[in-house]
């Protein structure tokens, strides 16, 4: 295997920035690609070189496998890092990379095949003694009803090609099956270019706990502990933390050893996540996320290790950069995903142009961000803008630091999930760690306190007065210039 010298990052946003930085840390030249709307994005500006993609639509840009492989070859890249989403778990893309002589930073195509076929993954897990949820393989519309009654209601429809919670639908009764199936197929096609879906038994109030693994592809597999990702909305994770609160030592041992067995059973390589549902003192394997995950920084925070440079080392053919005995968790870490969504309006994507950003910083705070003034929050891509990760000796201190950081975080121009996160941190069920996957359904800003009404009234009065008396103030006045300049500057070749 070659030493990596140049690496093409086939992604955008905060994860592309994360990989650029890992490249710098390893002395590898990072190469970016960008859709037209991303011409001024940080990952483009931070890379050593950047290559334009023809259109904003994913099929023309970050899902455009043949063009990405061709670009990597032209650019003299030794390897491609797919980030998460887009082509990260696409076995054909991984195979195309290897055929072109470009290392795919991720699992081998054969592992991706297994992970992508949820039934095969479940069979593999069961074969090494790991409990699984009842479920089906990919289903045809005609067999759906029969298969569903075998699995039992309520059940989930999930995308075979999926991940990231997209295309998941809960069906409580047989009458809703056909409609949900149609929706799920459409979403799966749009998000992953693959309309196949499967069914899985639904557990009412479980916790979502996942285990981070790292494997060298030759049977050496270690785990880096677990994460709790039970704060979800429409199967999209909103908050993750490590370690999982309230997990018994026996449960932790059971989960981590199960994860290592599954990874070994499917011949896994690189960083990956084995997802489980935990219900009381039982757990069930659900699936393998065969990629670096959005929430990997919470694991980095508690272990002090670097998952992305580890991926690059493994891709270069090195052995695992650390052994299981070197992995120890210390303290507590929480991640809040700051997305361009309107939490007061059903979490619908908030489309617009960001005209100002102020990111938090300081002790115990890490921000992985792709944000910039002038950025268009586009309907084409995942609305994730940035991740705030807080780490501290105790969970309470990590919550306090997160609250401080979220209050420092200012994004102008679009709605974000920050108000939801501030709400979540103050809920008793979050504070005591007793929440489960239904937690986010309780989101409701509730009645405003007299103090809040007073502050809102003062803010509105001061804002109005200020606008009337100083109509040409810097912020709103210079924003359009800023944007124009940013766009002008961003137009790389």
């Amino acid at each position: 295997m070659p030493t990596l010298r140049r690496l093409l990052i086939a992604n955008r946003g905060e994860i592309a920035v994360r990989v650029v930085r890992a490249c710098r840390d390893m002395g590898v030249a990072p190469l970016a690609v960008f859709a037209p709307t991303d011409a001024g994005a940080p990952h483009v500006r931070m890379a050593d070189d950047a290559f334009p993609l023809p259109g904003d639509a994913p099929a023309e840009s970050y899902l455009n496998g043949p063009l990405l492989v061709e670009t990597a070859r032209r650019a003299g890249a030794d390897a491609i890092h797919p980030g998460y989403g887009f082509l990260a778990e696409n076995p054909s893309f991984a195979a195309a990379c290897e055929e072109a002589g470009v290392v795919f930073v991720g699992p081998p195509s054969s592992s991706l095949e297994i992970c992508g076929d949820k039934a095969a993954a479940r069979t593999a897990a069961a074969s090494v003694g790991v409990p699984v949820l009842e479920g089906s393989g990919p289903i045809e519309d005609g067999d759906a009803e029969a298969t569903a009654s075998k699995v039992g209601f309520p059940l989930l429809i999930k995308a075979v090609g999926g991940g990231g919670g997209k295309g998941i639908h809960l069906v409580r009764s047989p009458g809703d099956l056909a409609g949900a199936l149609r929706l799920a197929r459409g979403e799966a096609q749009a998000a992953f270019g693959d309309p196949r879906v499967y069914l899985e038994r639904w557990v009412e109030g479980p916790r979502h706990v996942e285990v981070q693994v790292l494997a060298d592809g030759s049977g050496e597999v270690i785990h880096l502990g677990e994460r709790d990702c039970s704060v979800q909305r429409r199967h999209q994770k909103l908050i993750e933390e490590a370690p999982a609160p309230g997990l018994s030592a026996a449960m932790r041992e059971g989960l981590t050893s199960a994860a290592v067995r599954v990874a070994r059973a499917i011949g896994y390589r690189s960083a990956g996540t084995i997802e489980f549902l935990v219900e009381g003192d039982r757990f069930y394997f659900i699936e393998v996320n065969a990629r670096l995950q959005v929430e990997h920084p919470v694991t980095e925070a508690v272990t002090g290790l670097d998952l992305v440079t580890a991926q690059l080392a493994i891709a270069a053919g090195d052995p695992l950069p650390f052994g299981q005995e070197e992995v120890a968790c210390r303290g507590h870490a929480i991640e809040c995903r700051v997305s361009a969504e309107d939490p007061h309006g059903g979490f619908f994507p908030s489309i617009g142009r960001i005209d100002g950003v102020r990111e938090p910083s300081g002790a115990g705070i890490r921000v992985d961000s792709g944000l910039y003034a002038g950025q268009a929050a586009s309907r084409y891509y995942d609305p994730l803008l940035a991740k705030v990760i807080s780490a501290a000796p105790t969970r309470d201190a990590a919550i306090a630091r997160m609250r401080r950081a979220l209050l420092e975080f200012a994004v102008s121009g679009v709605d974000t999930t920050i108000p939801f996160h501030l709400w979540a941190l103050d809920q008793p069920a979050f504070a005591d760690g007793s929440y489960d996957v239904r937690f986010a359904d309780g989101w409701d800003q509730g009645p405003a306190s007299p103090d809040c009404l007073r502050l809102a009234a003062l803010a509105a009065a001061a804002w109005y007065h200020r606008q009337v008396t100083s109509p040409a103030l810097p912020t709103s006045g210079t924003a359009p210039k800023w944007i124009a300049a940013a766009r002008d500057e961003g137009l790389r070749r």
Partner: protein
């Protein structure tokens, strides 16, 4: 400047003075449903934090980040996890002193409170109007502001029409006052 604020069913008129980031806000004491404890003036600061929407409000010995976004004729104000739709408008127009001095005490000039686009100018010459009648609606920063007639009179001139840009302080309508004091 007197400003009327409404949040949900609560409504309060406040007097605001100051310049730049600083404002002294004095709530009127007449409203039992008040949003701000009436009777005492409160100094606040509103400092820009990011872009056009993010501010830091310093009030009562505390600093809190707020987001203020004009939307559909209201302000959406976010404080912590709470977002509130707030209606804000100028409570009463100020009769022009300049007009009063340079012409005659019988004339009343109704002026635009801020630069903007006239979105309605419903008066016609000769019409008799009472105090509080809408002289024009001026739109700026996605907010619509009604400009009121300050005292009863008869419309002598309507100097603007709907769709026209006006400067702050520009005369919109001229009335002949019905009662001379």
């Amino acid at each position: 400047m007197r400003i009327e604020i409404s949040i949900g069913g609560r409504r309060q008129v406040v007097a605001v003075e100051g310049a730049g980031a600083d404002a002294l806000i004095t709530p009127s004491g007449t409203d039992a449903e008040g949003l701000i404890t009436p009777g005492k003036a409160e100094g606040v600061r509103l400092e820009p934090l990011a872009g056009a929407e993010c501010w830091r409000l310093v009030a009562g010995g505390r600093a809190v980040p707020v987001r203020v976004r004009p939307h559909a004729g209201e302000l959406l104000v976010t404080v912590g996890s709470i977002r509130l739709p707030v209606r804000v408008r100028r409570a009463l127009p100020v009769p022009s002193r300049r007009g009063a001095d340079s012409n005659s005490t019988h004339r009343i000039e109704v002026r635009a409170p801020m630069p903007g686009l006239v979105s309605a100018a419903p008066l016609t010459v000769g019409r008799q109007v009472g105090a509080g009648c809408v002289a024009a609606v001026v739109e700026a920063m996605k907010m619509q502001m009604e400009v009121f007639v300050p005292a009863p009179g008869i419309v002598e001139e309507v100097r603007v029409r709907s769709g026209q840009e006006v400067a702050g302080g520009q005369v919109l309508v001229v009335l002949r006052a019905q009662e001379i004091s």
